[in-house]
Amino acid sequence: MNRLATGAIALLAVAVSNMASAAGSVMGSVGIDGTVADRCVFTSTNVVLNIGEMINTSGPSGSIGLLDPSRVNSQTAVLSGLCNGTSATMSVRAFPMLNTSFAATPPSGFSKRVDFTATAQVQTNSGVVSVSNDTVSAAASVPQTVGVFANDIDVSFSNAAAVNNALLIAGSYEGSVVVTLSPST
């Protein structure tokens, strides 16, 4: 009689202890992995600079009709962009100002082309990064590393000159500067 009662009690005790473990807190860890791709983005639109009259129309007789370089060299434009990768680069390609209405070969003493150098400059965590390209070069500038940045990109002009410093043929002129951000090499 007593033995039966004892066994029954023992089983109950075991069952109770199991339920107690199931009701307590259990810790585990879940790993979450993700990646962010290298990207560059411009946050500004294209810029159009209208510089107006390009030649000297008064002053010393020897300068009338010639390019006033300051009309180009004084120009600036601001783009803005960002890159999120440490190997991001920036390059620039400059295209000369060409007369858009005079298609023929310029007569002796005249030019229909203005060359210049364009420089794109941006402040990054590593300092100022500057990249330049002149319109005479056949290719764009060598890309320079800008890394992770989100900032204004200042575009400036210099060394403007008509071919052979000749008289410029009348008409409209247009040139351009293309700034490229590359997320990774």
Partner: protein
């Protein structure tokens, strides 16, 4: 039931693998366009010499004394004259030499000396005009346009004064004589 913790780990690992397979972004560019213009412009070089001194106009002795002597051609340069656009032309406007004494002359005399002014090296034909003042100096002006230059042009212009004549080959009245030439450059007239 499966161990719920184990099941959750498997699902998250699959998601992570999918993100790692995404590619880097592409190059992006922006342009700065620079537009300008060059206005139509013509410039005449400063005349060299700026004035022409013919000296003594009349023959001083012999059978032709008192009549206009033979006067050599005179040349004036207008260096580095140009127009930076096409379809331009020169106009030359000449005024006969007239004596400062404006009194009407007697028959057989003259107070005018006519000449031809030609500006060359701009276009074909040259801009040329001959004055036709009468002995009293009436109607001293004459003007003419040259040919059309169909392209921008830069050149050293030459103004030539030639063919000096006295109306009726009359005797020249005494005194100083003065004439002028005006050269104009600009769009060719229709």
């Amino acid at each position: 039931m499966k161990n719920p913790k184990l099941f959750l780990l498997v699902v998250l690992s699959a998601l992570a693998a999918g993100m790692a397979a995404g590619a880097a972004g592409s190059n992006v560019s922006r342009s700065v366009t620079i537009d300008g213009n060059v206005t139509n412009l013509c410039v005449l070089g400063s005349p060299n010499p700026s004035s022409v001194d013919l000296g003594v106009l009349a023959v001083t002795s012999g059978n032709s004394a008192g009549h206009l002597q033979t006067i050599a051609n005179q040349s004036v340069q207008l260096p580095s004259s140009f127009c930076n656009y096409a379809d331009t032309a020169l106009t030359v406007d000449a005024s006969a030499l007239l004596a400062s004494d404006t009194t009407s002359v007697q028959s057989g005399f003259t107070r005018a000396v006519n000449f031809t002014a030609t500006v060359s090296k701009w276009a074909t034909p040259d801009a040329a005009v001959t004055t036709a003042a009468d002995a009293n100096g009436v109607n001293p002006h004459a003007a003419n346009a040259g040919g059309v230059q169909g392209a921008p042009e830069l050149t050293d212009l030459t103004l030539t004064l030639s063919n000096f004549t006295a109306p009726g080959n009359g005797f020249l009245v005494a005194g100083s004589y003065r004439g002028s030439v005006t050269v104009t450059i600009g769009p060719a007239l229709e």
